[in-house]
């Protein structure tokens, strides 16, 4: 959990088969209100590339990315 950003929902997307991390985050972000934040925890190297591209495409905002060993946490704000 990041010190300065409070997530309204945490999603564990570690080790899922392709393309489930993106499929699940696309659903999960719609389950919070606009302006709220989802923390997505991933362990797939490809997620590092997929999430920024997904955010750009879906119009959401990645506020912060924390990389710690194999684990990456994305803090994503629902924009629309």
């Amino acid at each position: 959990m990041s010190d300065d950003i409070k997530a309204d929902k945490v999603m564990d997307l570690k080790g899922l088969p392709c393309p489930m991390p993106v499929v699940k985050i696309s659903k999960g972000i719609k389950e919070v209100a606009v302006g709220q934040v989802v923390e997505a925890v991933t362990s797939d190297p490809g997620a590092l590339a997929d999430f920024p591209a997904w955010a750009k495409t879906s119009g959401n905002e990645i506020m912060k990315t924390e990389q710690e060993g194999k684990i990456t946490r994305f803090f994503i704000r629902r924009v629309k």
Binding site: C18, V22, S26, P45, G46, A49, D50, P52, S58, K70
Partner: protein, 416 residues
Amino acid sequence: MDDTTRDELLRLFESKLKRAAKLYLETCSRCGVCVSACHVYASMPQAKYIAAYRAEIVRRIYKRYFTKKGRFWKSLGESKELSELALSELYEAAYSCTGCRRCMVFCPFGIDTQLIMSIAKLLLIGAHAEPEILSLLADTSVAKGESLEIFREGFLESIKTLENEVVERWRVEAGQTPIPVDQKGADLLYVALAGAHSIVPAAVVFNAAKENWTLSFFEAVNFGAFVGDPVKTRQILDRIVNEARRLGVKEVVICECGTAFRVMKSMAKNEPFKVSSITEVHARYIREGRIKLRKNTLEGTVTYHDPCQLARNGGVMDEPRFILRALTDDFAEMSPDPVMNWCCGGGGGLVAMGEDTLDFRMKSASVKADQVKKTGAKILATACENCHTQLSNLNDHYQMGVDVRFLSSMVADALE
């Protein structure tokens, strides 16, 4: 449906009317041979799941708008108006077809229902009625191709975290990078998926075979093909083609992703590199003595599911069997002829649509579950991520009691 939308959809329809498509649309004799060919119909016998029935919806729209008879006598010649209702029928037909092409093998005229369904999918895109998630996935892949700089560093860092795992399983020479990325002068570009399971075992085998290889920045899967969008299919493919050209590799190797392999194999024919599946490459290494495998370390009978896009539609059938025979003396075929193997029921974008399609995927693939059970196998090997997910779901749903394994990781685990 307003006239402008209809005109736009008919323009899209026309763009698909190449020679083969016209032939398929004009040829069906309704002989019924394809009835039992489709796993969906075999599992859920309803007329709407017969291959020729699905195609008939597209065929009737074709007759109505693209043949003289249909244009002049609208009510004659079994023609169909392109309407909202027709669109919902097209959706049901196209997204209950996995594009496995088993029906094509049975049809005396070789009619490709998958190709006819690709017309349906294009019309759905034109009407903004395609599954939203598939377009989003395709757009995400396209966006990745346009913004390598955004993820480059993060990706490289994340690949670094996997290197220990690779070295633990196969020690590399001092100074050698366990997972090389972006290496000019490499012979082979390996295109993986997002997950570590698609990268680590492959890297271990490449290193064991002393391959001069490099990993792609991009994922192999082509969601443009799943959603049936020819423009996005090309854009997604071109990310990898351009990377391969830039690095000057001689061979592009696609990971265990059937659709990615079929699309790359069929669309990159005139490129200065050869296209192979990882399965073909592993078979080659064994044949050439570049890797050696420990035999008979697996417990119980092993069977193999042919991913439709790799086997029936990609021609890779002998290689997985060659690999499996190097791994075990206890291999059981699930179909007397691999060409006739049942589809797992997860293709055509259905697995990528996640839980929304789970119930249908399970019901429509009961014949696959029965086929696996009959082999008595304990290990169910396959060489496609999509099939692996669907087979794992089937394993849980039908309590098949098998261990679903990726063939590539079986090879990596058995290295001598």
